[in-house]
């Protein structure tokens, strides 16, 4: 009898002990990640998650002394699925912070919900201008970039340094395309240049010939905004149409970013674009980042990976600032908005008063090094904000860049 009792008591004690946490800390910090993991954008989504995972692996999976649990949900690139997953992460998984998404329209769809839930969400990639300009959301922390942010300095660069006077722009006919082009056109024209033609091709254009054939022959250069699939096929079509020899090709950062660069050939060489990142950035933090990422995932990191990597660090810095108390949402949001990272792979980053990063913008040129294509940095504009040199109140008075703004005065 006594033996049975002892066994029972021991068993009960073991069960209790097993159930107790190792120390008296709160549970893990749960980060909910929403990203396309299937469908056409799956690789970009994967690159984002890999970037985050890499930071966690390098830091023992911990932030501010607490373990971190990353819960990744597939948005399948569809707004309503993203919204459902968001609800699941917040209500079921009880995450304390969210990160993610790729597409601007999903970003717009989630912003009101995130505000409703009063939970901070980091947008490392979504660049839609208005999310930190005319349609800001209190609980969205943008840690990536705004579409027109790199274009503003580039317009000045194209006019003053490259000396172009007349430029034809050719972009993908959707909001992101027009925002990138709009920013360029504004500063280019303010610095004496003329945008003489604005062409837009629909989203899944396979053959750019009809647009290439329309390019006005008196241009000095062509500014092209291409994204993933279109970026893949455009440079060769541009070259084969005999245009590369006549009109230097410049463009938006995504036209030649590291996502497509490995698949491009010599036709890409010489392409000049602005972005807040290049894998060829020559600072020690980035060199280490690129080498490690390459070793781990077998490819050169694109800005998708870098921004997600830095966003993870961002969360950690904010968590540290509130002493690990991420459950206090208001304080945590405040901390997130005040994080300053002087040494991310892309350089120093911090947020402006409107919630968008202030960071270096690099003018890059595609060059071949050891048989590989890289975006060599040829010029740096330090500490560029989404408003460039304009006063925010003035800038916000103008409408968001779109097909009709800035108007094509010289067309």
């Amino acid at each position: 009898m006594a033996r049975k009792l002892t066994v029972i008591i021991l068993a009960v004690l073991v069960v209790i002990a097993a159930g107790l946490p190792a120390d008296a800390q709160k549970g893990p910090i749960k980060i909910g990640v929403i990203s396309p993991m299937s469908g056409g954008a799956a690789q970009a989504g994967k690159d984002m998650v890999n970037g985050m995972q890499m930071w966690l692996d390098e830091n023992g999976g911990q932030m501010a002394g607490r373990k971190v649990e990353m819960i990744v949900e597939d948005s399948q690139g569809q707004p309503n699925i993203a919204l459902t997953k968001l609800q699941k992460l917040v209500e079921r998984d009880k995450v304390q912070v969210l990160v993610g998404e790729l597409f601007a329209h999903i970003g717009y769809a989630m912003a009101p919900k995130v505000d409703e839930y009063r939970i901070p969400m980091l947008y490392p990639v979504i660049a839609a201008d208005d999310l930190t300009q005319r349609k800001p959301a209190k609980w969205v922390v943008r840690t990536g970039w705004a579409s027109s942010q790199p274009s503003h300095p580039f317009g000045e660069y194209a006019a003053k340094v490259l000396g172009y006077k007349k430029i034809v722009t050719l972009g993908i006919d959707y909001a992101f395309g027009w925002e990138v082009i709009g920013g360029f056109q504004k500063t280019f024209e303010e610095n004496g240049g003329q945008s003489i033609q604005k062409l837009g091709a629909p989203l899944n254009t396979t053959d750019f010939a009809p647009y290439l054939s329309q390019i006005k022959r008196d241009a000095d250069a062509v500014f092209a905004l291409m994204v993933s699939g279109s970026a893949l096929r455009f440079p060769r079509q541009y070259q084969d149409a005999g245009l590369k020899a006549k009109f230097p090709l410049i463009g938006g950062g995504t036209t030649f970013d590291e996502f497509v660069l490995p698949s491009l050939g010599d036709e890409a060489i010489g392409g000049m674009t602005p972005l807040q990142y290049s894998a060829a950035l020559d600072n020690p933090v980035n060199k280490r980042f690129v080498a490690e990422y390459r070793k781990k995932y077998g490819k050169v990191p694109s800005y998708f990976s870098e921004t997600s990597y830095t966003s993870t660090r961002w969360i950690a810095e904010a968590a540290k600032a509130v002493g690990g108390d991420v459950e206090n949402r208001e304080k945590f949001l405040e901390a997130l908005r005040h994080v300053e990272i002087p040494d991310s792979p892309r350089g120093p980053v911090k947020l402006d008063a409107h919630g968008n990063p202030v960071q270096n913008i690099y003018i890059r040129k595609v060059e071949k090094k050891d048989g590989e294509l890289w975006n060599t940095v040829i010029h740096t504009y330090p500490a560029v904000s989404q408003f460039w040199k304009y006063k925010p109140e003035e800038f916000l008075k103008q409408p968001v860049y779109d097909r009709n703004f800035p108007p094509c005065k010289y067309c």
């Binding site: 469908g39 254009t205 096929r233 005999g242 050939g265």
Partner: protein, 286 residues
């Protein structure tokens, strides 16, 4: 509108039409002749591109890659038809959903096997660059595409119209009962036609891949294009597929060049319009 502009646009429209014919040629056989609504057509196209890439990564030349891709995808097509589709003749809904199911499965498998990074097919040197004729550029690869499309059209026409095999294929498609009655192995012929269609799609995947790239999502992107061509041209007619693709290529090209604001509609609005007037397509028979 200068003469050069016109020549250039016509060349672009024709070469785009040639690309569309390659995309749609296989579908015009499967959909047009056999009346199977094949949503997997895009997958054959995509897988053809990926298989060719794998061959070329291992050092194989471009032309060998095309052949191997064609054979591999023909096998997959035969498998799909044999196991599932041959029982579904006349049932559009069943065909749409079965082939859609396969399309989703192939899409995900391709992601798992080849990853999601966009790829280009490195063209052999003799196919790169452009011919310059009086200031106008004619990319060699576009000429190649026109050549391949013309060759495919010629071979298909010869086989279908001038050979006994072709006669058997046409008979099988027109009236399987009678065909069986005169001793044609309907089963094998049908399988052969389907395999041929899949093969053509995969060849398109490789050839177009050199132009457009190989990447996830390409399968569903080209699917509407292929259907447009087959429908506009009229099903059950190779001539229709050829004319349809040229017409769509030229319409789309000129439409985008002259009315760029309507770019989203230059493909489907004319399709709807043509079908409104002639529901069986331009050369279709009901």
């Amino acid at each position: 509108m200068t003469f050069e502009f016109l020549v250039g646009q016509i060349f672009n429209g024709v070469s785009y039409g040639a690309l569309l014919f390659l995309l749609a040629g296989g579908l015009s056989l499967i959909f047009g002749m056999m009346r199977i609504v094949n949503m997997t057509h895009g997958s054959y196209y995509l897988l053809g591109g990926y298989v060719a890439l794998t061959v070329m990564w291992r050092g194989g030349p471009f032309l060998l890659a095309i052949v191997i891709a064609a054979l591999a995808i023909a096998l997959i097509g035969i498998g799909e038809w044999n196991a599932f589709l041959k029982r579904l003749s006349g049932q559009e809904l069943g065909q749409v959903l079965t082939t859609m199911g396969f399309a989703l499965i192939f899409q995900d498998l391709a992601l798992v096997l080849w990853g999601g990074d966009p790829q280009t097919i490195k063209l052999p040197a003799f196919l790169s660059g452009s011919w310059v004729i009086r200031e106008s550029f004619f990319p060699v690869y576009r000429v190649f595409i026109v050549g391949v499309a013309a060759a495919v059209a010629l071979v298909l026409w010869l086989v279908l119209e001038k050979t006994r095999l072709g006669a058997m294929m046409r008979a099988t498609v027109d009236d399987p009962e009678m065909a069986r009655g005169v001793g044609i192995n309907v089963f094998r012929i049908s399988m052969g036609v389907f395999a041929l269609g899949a093969m053509l799609a995969s060849v398109a995947g490789v050839v177009a891949g050199g132009f457009v790239g190989v990447y996830p999502g390409a399968d569903f992107e080209i699917l509407p294009f292929a259907f447009v061509v087959v429908i506009v041209g009229g099903m059950g007619s190779l001539k229709g597929a050829l004319v349809g693709s040229l017409l769509v290529g030229l319409l789309d090209n000129f439409g985008k060049a002259l009315f760029p604001e309507l770019s989203y509609f230059t493909l489907f609005a004319p399709m709807a319009a043509i079908l409104a007037v002639r529901p069986t397509g331009l050369f279709g028979r009901a």
